[in-house]
Amino acid sequence: MNRIVARKTWFKGLQFHSVLAVLALMLLAGDVMAHGERAQLASMRMRTVHWFDTQVTPLNVKVGDLVTVTGKLVTSEWWPKHMPSIEETVFLNIGVPGPTFLRLHSEVNGVPMMRSTAFPLGKVYEYKTVLRARVAGRYHVHPLLNVKDAGSLVAKGSWLEVAENDSGEPFVNEITTLPGDTIDLETYGLSGFGGVYFWHVVWIVVGIAYLVYWLGTKRELFIPRFIRIRALGQDRANELLTKNDFVVSSIFFTLTLALILTGYLWAENRYPITIPLQTGLVDVEPIDIPAGDLEVVVDHATYELAGRSLTMRMNMTNNGTSPIRIAEFLTANIRFMNAKVGEGEIYEGEEMISRDGLTVSIDTIAPGQSVDVDLVASDALWEKYRMTGLIHDPDSRFAGLIFYYDDVGTRYYQEVGGAVLPEFF
């Protein structure tokens, strides 16, 4: 049973929610596998950002515990030119259903990411986000980038189980302000004299009092007033307004102005140090993609619908001194791994992996060797993640990362991409 069951307190007395939720859980079966990542066009997912080494730890926590999300991403050189670019404005975010977690910290290449930034294409970014579990439930947590005017780019998700904390005490989120007060953001500023509730009640009471005067104390309301005004004509219609109306209105007017002024001055006095909202872009130094010694030229690529496989023919030249083994092809968050090489860490709870999904026509590329290589990435995951829609896209091109290892086990990666043709039979 995999679903998000956030705790609800609405209709406490009747417990309607709990009953319905239990009923629903009993009826349902199967996993909620994806939250938005399957919807986008296949070619868009392949040519925007390549996420890898995505890791969420730990996967079982209690409310109040910390969770760390780390990983790397490469911005694709094949970024669609017609689309607003990640080079303009981007924000590192987390894909969870509402604030079920608090974000305590986030950084890209060591720079704190409270603000938005920009990512040039073809570079590597290492990100880290620290969360604190806030609401019990089971959640699919995705690292995510919001790209201004383009939309959300979602990394693969990991299931995270959040249990109630042992003490059962309400969640508290305490911080210390610069003037030195320690406050709980969950309830800050709401109750007490001069709080949000107080002032809202004051104004609601004043508003109701005003309406009660006009609608509750008059003998004649809509239809009779309408008839009188029609009979009097517009020139004399003001005769309907009594002296009392004038007096009451002027009292309300004066009282309201005084109340606004009092509230303002009181708050100024109570909170003498305040600042405007803070915003603005921050810069992040990108890291160049580590240049390995492999030179790759894509010759052509075909997508076989029936076989659910992508076949890429490329010319590879090993300019280094160490033999090279192709270990993995990554596209649209799916890892196609070469079982023969057996390199590449798989993290706990990681999804979207085809453990022997990659077939490479050559085992090792010797130093100095230049050879045509066929890479076949094949798995039912193509279907499951709606990548078969590739042939319905208005721009049938692909991109992905190839991971390869030298003889001492050092990992390198290189982006490849190009046109892709469908094969129907």
């Binding site: 679903r3 994806a34 938005g36 509402g98 604030p99 008839i227």
Partner: protein
């Protein structure tokens, strides 16, 4: 099969006044209002329970099992409701305004106000429940379909249900109340058309969200079509003026000293 009016006033014979006694309670409004609220509450509980649980991924089996049938059901129920009621009111329309007594006419205004009350209750439910649920949803989850859970409730039930009540009410008014027979009330028409047009406007909304507007800003210009159509409610003022004029006159006439009770 237009019928000529053969009904007579069925007013209670109270002690104080035959006319006044009739307008104490509006059972129709109570019953239908309670029913509308029950439907709204049921949908709200469904959204709260199933929204984040099985509604975040359109391409999952659960979504297809628990949300799409609701959408189809809503469309079928609302279309049938509107069409059947509208056709029935039109087919049983009355043509002879002169045979409708003043008491009957006034009691029909009372009924019309009852219908408006039910609509008002529904309008209040939309305002307090549905409108911002869409904001709360879309600002925290990734949009992966045009048929998100909150859209299924607000776009395909809550707002269309208002139209589904307005259209038959419009036809009923224009075929049962003498002041509206054989003519069309412009402000009433404006209200009905304005609220109705919200539905075709979904087309623009979804098209825009798909092709040129990728952010979840609620105040974005792409949503202003809904605002403009909401302005059709401004026409409630002239519609109220029509009602004041007609109801005021009927009350004045039927309560006058020298007024003779209509007899069948």
């Amino acid at each position: 099969m237009a019928l000529s009016n053969t009904q007579t006033a069925t007013l209670e014979t109270g002690s104080e006044s035959k006319v006044a006694g009739h307008f104490k309670r509006n059972r129709f409004a109570y019953m239908c209002g309670a029913f509308a609220l029950a439907v709204g509450a049921a949908l709200r509980i469904y959204l709260d329970t199933m929204g984040f649980a099985v509604g975040t991924d359109y391409y999952s089996e659960e979504f297809q099992t628990y949300w799409m049938p609701l959408l189809y059901g809503e469309i079928i129920v609302l279309c049938s409701f509107t069409v059947i009621l509208s056709v029935y009111f039109w087919m049983t329309r009355e043509t002879d305004a002169s045979s409708i007594s003043k008491e009957l006419e006034l009691s029909r205004y009372w009924r019309l106000l009852g219908v408006f009350t039910v609509m008002g209750i529904w309008a209040g439910a939309i305002a307090s429940n549905a409108v911002e649920s869409d904001a709360a949803w879309h600002q925290v989850t990734i949009r992966d379909t045009d048929f998100t859970p909150t859209h299924i409730i607000i776009f395909y039930f809550a707002l269309p249900f208002l139209t589904a009540m307005l259209i038959p009410a419009f036809i009923w008014t224009h075929t049962r109340i003498p002041a509206y027979m054989n003519k069309i009330s412009l402000p009433f028409l404006a209200v009905v058309v304005g609220i109705l047009m919200i539905m075709p406007n979904y087309g623009f909304n979804e098209w825009g969200h798909t092709f040129f507007y990728a952010e979840e800003l609620f105040a974005a210009p792409i949503h202003w079509g809904f605002v403009f159509l909401g302005w059709s409610l401004f026409f409630l003022v002239p519609l109220a003026v029509q009602l004041f004029t007609n109801m005021g006159r009927l009350i004045a006439e039927t309560t006058a000293e020298d007024y003779k009770q209509h007899s069948a």
